[in-house]
Amino acid sequence: MQRIGVFVCWCGSNIAGTVDVHTVAEALKSEPGVVFSTDYQYMCSQAGQDIIKNAIKEHNLTGIVVCSCSPRMHEATFRKTAAAAGINPYMVEIANIREQCSWVHKDMQTGTEKAIILGKAAVAKVNLNTPLTPGESPVTKRALVIGGGIAGIQTALDIADAGFPVDIVETKPTIGGKMAQLDKTFPTLDCAACILTPKMVDVAQNENIRIFSYSEVQEIKGFVGNFDVTIKKRARFVKEEICTGCGACVEKCPMKKIPNEFNLGMDNRHAIYIPFAQAVPKVATIDPNACNMLKKGKCGICSKVCSAGAIDYTQKDEFISEKYGAIVVATGFNPISMEKFDEYAYSQSKDVITSLEFERLTNAAGPTAGKLLRPSDLKHPHTIVFVQCVGSRCAACAEKGKEYCSKICCMYTAKHAMLVRDKYPDTEVYVFYIDVRTPGKNFDEFYRRAVEEYGVKYVKGMVGKVTPEGDKLKVQASDLIANKQLHIDADLVVLAAAIEPDKSARPLATMLTASMDTNDFFTEAHPKLRPVESPTAGVFLSGACQGPKDIPETVSQASAAASKVIGLLVKDKLTGNPCVASPNELMCNGCSTCERVCPYGAITYEDKEFMMPDRSKAIRRVAQVNPAVCQGCGACTVACMSGAMDLRGFMGSQIIAEVDAICK
């Protein structure tokens, strides 16, 4: 049985004006468990708090009810008061008789009656309160960044600069991501490589950063502050630490007809390759599906020409286990497949290309060494049609496209159009669009330059069909403003393909128990106030894995994620919220229902041996809640049929007691 003290605050006349505080204090005296009840002008004042402290000592109180303003106002205050007097802070409950009583009711009798009932409900609850202690867990001061594009690079650099070790896991042989493939960047038209590659070098040289390239995350266990991650380092058959990246092996490799992924298959590479000149790490990689030595055991030329002796055909996949305190997801995006968009003849003509392919065609390091030549016959195209929103904002074609706006296409298309007109003023450039969206600093100015200075022909309307005919592409389109059909003989058609999250994101989200939206973009903890955190504690979001983003936005989000990570890693211990879910294992069915509603992935299952009611022993699957991860929403408690799951601080029995007290 509790020994409860009730403290009714007047709040000057704020409460006492409409509530007869003496009557309330008197009425609550006879409630079960109440051994002391009083009222005072300002309970939150030092003098008021002293009354509470003294009463705790004098009457050996175990529980406190303060009838005062909203708990959102002073719950923390009174909890501290209680703790200072030696009782558990969670033994305090507040009856809100100001905001929810005296301030909204005018009549003294009504206000008093309601205040008494609210007080009774608080007393009923405190009778069932139990002391709660927030759990503590240590923090591993190391971060993992999954994905080595500009998002991952920026996040890693910022965390590393704050003094914490960071590992980057990148599936490709080099970091750099999509940005490394770009030519120029909007709206400033500076070259992507010129601003990206120094950052890549910074990463390589930063003592706090390790790069696991050509690697992927195999398994993630644990929780915020304490993740156990297994990284699979795929065999690249080149000793990374020895290879100097001289490229001798690449030159001599006889297998030279392998489609070059970096140039999106528009030219070839060798079986042993370095994706591009500024790759980081600048280390060769052997493609096991292409290498004769690995496939048939014949060749071995690269090994012979490697003066460093870095080639190792026997290399195996390596598994690295590491502990991390925080994980940043920066898995990025990909353009969607154009296979299903037959109307644009992407599969039929080499001269229908995606915007990313166009980037490579205009890039000095690309397959055409920066000359704009169309892929089919390497001739200079004189008429180019850009088609916007291919697969974006595509509510009606959900099976092949995306409902959302891909956000970056308007701007890069403006950039492409402008660059073409700048370099090749004899080229006619059409851009077909639904809307032109340019919300960003200097974005609209940029777009207007394309139209006004560079004479790009923007047509509001969509391309209906592209038909290859001879060496031309017949483009059928509608001009919605002029309300007429257009027929254009184009030499090159560029499709602004929608972007989608990288395919690796979904399995990764499962491993992280991080939630995703229906488009497989990671969900933020709060769309406005916590945009770089996943609802799963300790997991942060950087870049386009959270939604379509351009480079400036990605970089700012990457730094924001880094600052959140730093804020976490700087702590030695994490103190949790003690009002978390906790299962009664004896009643748990192990049915996974609670796990399915938990937005935080706080619930896992364990097989444990139990003595059953009939004294037989059985191994049962039972839920385990990680208090460091649980945020205490209580969704699981209602999902749980057997009532095995309860929420500390808001136990079913406590809420029922409140209901009963109110309905008495």
């Binding site: 959102r72 301030w103 709060h526 937005p599 309905c663």
Partner: protein
Amino acid sequence: MQVNEYKPLIVAFCCNWCSYAGADLAGNNRLAYPADVKIIRVPCSCRVNPMFILRAFQRGADGVIICGCHPGDCHYTSGNYYTRRRMALLFSMLDYLGIERERTRLEWVSAAEGAKFAATMNDFVEKVTALGENKRLEDLRCKR
């Protein structure tokens, strides 16, 4: 001797982050609503078990209202979405059993919507008052 006019008993479950704060704001702005409404604070509307609602009716409540954050604004990202499904089904079932529809309600009230909170409560109390005492889901033992 006072006129014994019928006063309903209303239990309101409010989520801590939005609706309870909305109720506080109604107080801050002195937006009156009937004292028949008694608020129980829960961390999230998804903490409200249908059993609590039935319990309130058993003990003599004439109306039960659950208030949570607007869809998309849940402090816990998804709690109110579960609440919405649970309550839609529960309310539909109560209706199927012949319990008056207006006795239960689910409302989204944000921390900024003090006025909406007060208006919602005024409206709910009015509707329940018109229905009169809860006879169909009561436990007579609790009324003697």
